[in-house]
């Protein structure tokens, strides 16, 4: 492929990929009447009514808060507990290590739907339906294997020399982990946290199954269940879609290189 052709092809692809999002932004800023009568590639009259309605009558801050709390707690818990396990799996010798790695990989392939009903009964028995813990606990099923798997990969990439030097100097294993390895793996831990947060932010099936009414709904559930009185409220739905996209798009913009590394490393090794 000649490079000019390649560049034109890439430009076309980028435009095609970006178009649905661009179109959503335009439509979310267009009055609904115009939207249906004369759609236009760029907004002729820009209005913010849909966004205003989103945050006033739709109370969209509630699902945003819920999503931040649930995805944030899930990420924090998984990265903390997961990095301990990942350190042992990456650096220490013990029996059953291969088995545990295989187990974690297998669980990461679990179809969520196959555990929805027992989780529902469990959470109902514990009185946790429609609560934050009632979402965080189920989220651990996919987030924990993901974080452990990614972190094992990162820890293994770091040269063991420094820790060994620390051990020779009389540091304990624990000290060599917290004082030597962890500071070195801040970028890896951060990438893992970003990926875990994105996956938790986007989760739908569990959030749909274990919440009732708008109090604890997460962003994807709130958007999916948007209803209008007479017709589909496209303006508000698209405004919500844009709002839900902003945090993940911001993360992608800021951490694109790391995210690509994390994704391909996790996958190639998965």
């Amino acid at each position: 492929m000649s490079s000019a052709l390649r560049r034109i092809g890439l430009a076309v692809l980028v435009v095609l990929i970006a178009f649905p999002l661009y179109w959503a932004v335009v439509a979310s800023l267009t009055p609904e009447a115009t939207l249906f009568r004369e759609p236009s590639l760029w907004p002729r009259t820009v209005i913010l009514d849909h966004y205003r309605a989103l945050f006033t009558t739709r109370h969209f801050l509630v699902p945003i808060r819920n999503s931040i709390v649930v995805a944030g707690c899930t990420t924090l818990f998984c990265v903390t507990v997961g990095s301990l396990a990942a350190y042992a799996l990456a650096r220490l010798r013990f029996r059953g290590k291969g088995l545990i790695l295989g187990f974690i990989l297998a669980v990461s392939m679990f179809p969520q739907i196959s555990i929805v009903s027992p989780l529902y009964l469990m959470l109902r028995a514990l009185g946790l339906i429609n609560s934050y813990p009632g979402l965080i606990l189920p989220y651990l099923t996919f987030a924990m294997p993901l974080t452990v798997w990614l972190l094992v990969g990162y820890f293994r990439q770091l040269p063991p020399d420094l820790e060994e030097a620390a051990l020779v100097d009389g540091a304990s294993r624990w000290q060599s982990f917290t004082k030597v390895l962890l500071p070195l793996s801040v970028p890896g831990v951060a990438t893992t946290a970003i990926l875990t947060f994105i996956y938790s932010w986007n989760e739908f099936l569990f959030a749909l199954s274990f919440t009732v009414g708008p109090d604890r709904q997460t962003v994807p559930v709130a958007i999916a269940l948007f209803r209008g009185q007479y017709q589909v409220p496209w303006g508000e739905i698209l405004a919500a879609a844009v709002v839900a996209t902003v945090p993940v798009a911001a993360m992608v913009l800021l951490f694109q290189r790391r995210i690509v590394q994390g994704l391909t490393a996790g996958a190639v090794k998965g």
């Binding site: 492929m1 990929i17 999002l21 507990v81 099923t141």
Partner: protein
């Protein structure tokens, strides 16, 4: 450094225990529970019936359940069509991205955003594009004279699949391209130089060098995408709701409706077990294929 192998092992068990314990509690234990449920008649709407043991009764009924076989068929159709399209388009995309340096950041962001946004949002974007009144798909088709009247996409089974497949391709081809690109970058450029010297054209280089050497990456993509596509839920729940009727309902949505709409927990559990078994079987099949393909081991 032979010191303290025993204490290392003790520390390792201590460190691994919380994560493994959590996974066992929230994933393995519920999976066993699903299996147990599937052997019982358990209807949350009829609590006075209790949960009588019915053996394989639920599975026997699945055999004669037309909606179940339909859902399985829709899932297979969706999986095969979308994964095939994503693989071909992803390969083209990866080849175009490979060895391109200018504007790489822009391409990377464009590629990552669809992957990173919630599937629910992607589904809504495409439902809007294919809306019968405000949709731009109809505006383009009518405007260019391909059709006379706006198509009401979600009323017919055949047309309802179009936005579903397109939305999935839009959202996941970037991921496929990224994985294939990582594979492409591992191929030694000297091979192409040698082929050039031998007078092999672009097509020959593609079929004789690129694709054979990319086989491990392609297999990997196949694993991830098939397992993912087979579990499709969010996308179709939002785009078609399984409709018209149940003609685009995938197996995961049928299980969800049985469980949380109709509250038939025993029967729904049986469907869930079937989904699990098929996913597991596919994963095993692929891992075997991957091993035979000479790819790197499954350990990180």
């Amino acid at each position: 450094m032979r010191r303290s192998n025993d204490s290392d092992a003790r520390l390792a068990r201590l460190l691994v225990a919380p994560a493994v314990g959590v996974i066992a509690l929230v994933a393995i234990f519920p999976l066993g529970w699903t299996l147990w449920e599937s052997l019982h008649r358990h209807d949350l709407r009829l609590p006075w019936l209790g949960q009588p043991f019915v053996g394989l009764g639920n599975y026997a009924r699945l055999l004669h359940d037309a909606r179940f076989w339909g859902a399985l068929g829709h899932t297979a159709f969706f999986t095969i069509v979308s994964v095939a399209l994503e693989l071909v388009l992803g390969l083209i995309f990866a080849l175009a991205m490979n060895r391109t340096y200018r504007g790489r950041g822009v391409v990377r962001v464009a590629v990552l955003v669809p992957w990173a946004i919630p599937t629910v949002v992607a589904a809504l974007l495409w439902r809007f594009l294919f809306d019968s009144q405000a949709g731009i798909a109809n505006a383009l088709l009518v405007g260019s004279g391909i059709v006379d009247h706006p198509v009401v996409w979600f009323v017919h089974t055949a047309t309802a699949w179009v936005p579903v497949i397109l939305a999935d391709v839009w959202k996941t081809t970037p991921f496929v391209a990224l994985l294939l690109l990582a594979g492409l970058q591992n191929i030694d450029p000297a091979l192409y130089e040698a082929a050039e010297v031998d007078g092999a054209g672009a097509w020959r280089q593609l079929t004789r060098i690129t694709i054979p050497l990319l086989k491990p990456a392609i297999l990997l993509v196949l694993i991830f995408r098939t397992l993912d596509a087979f579990r499709v839920f969010d996308l179709i729940y939002v785009l078609t709701g399984g409709g018209p009727g149940t003609s685009t309902e995938p197996i995961a949505l049928y299980a969800f409706n049985t469980l949380l709409q109709n509250l038939r927990f025993g029967y729904g559990a049986a469907i869930s077990v079937v989904i699990f078994a098929i996913t597991f079987g596919l994963a095993l099949l692929y891992i075997k294929g991957l091993g035979a393909g000479g790819a790197a081991g499954t350990e990180p």
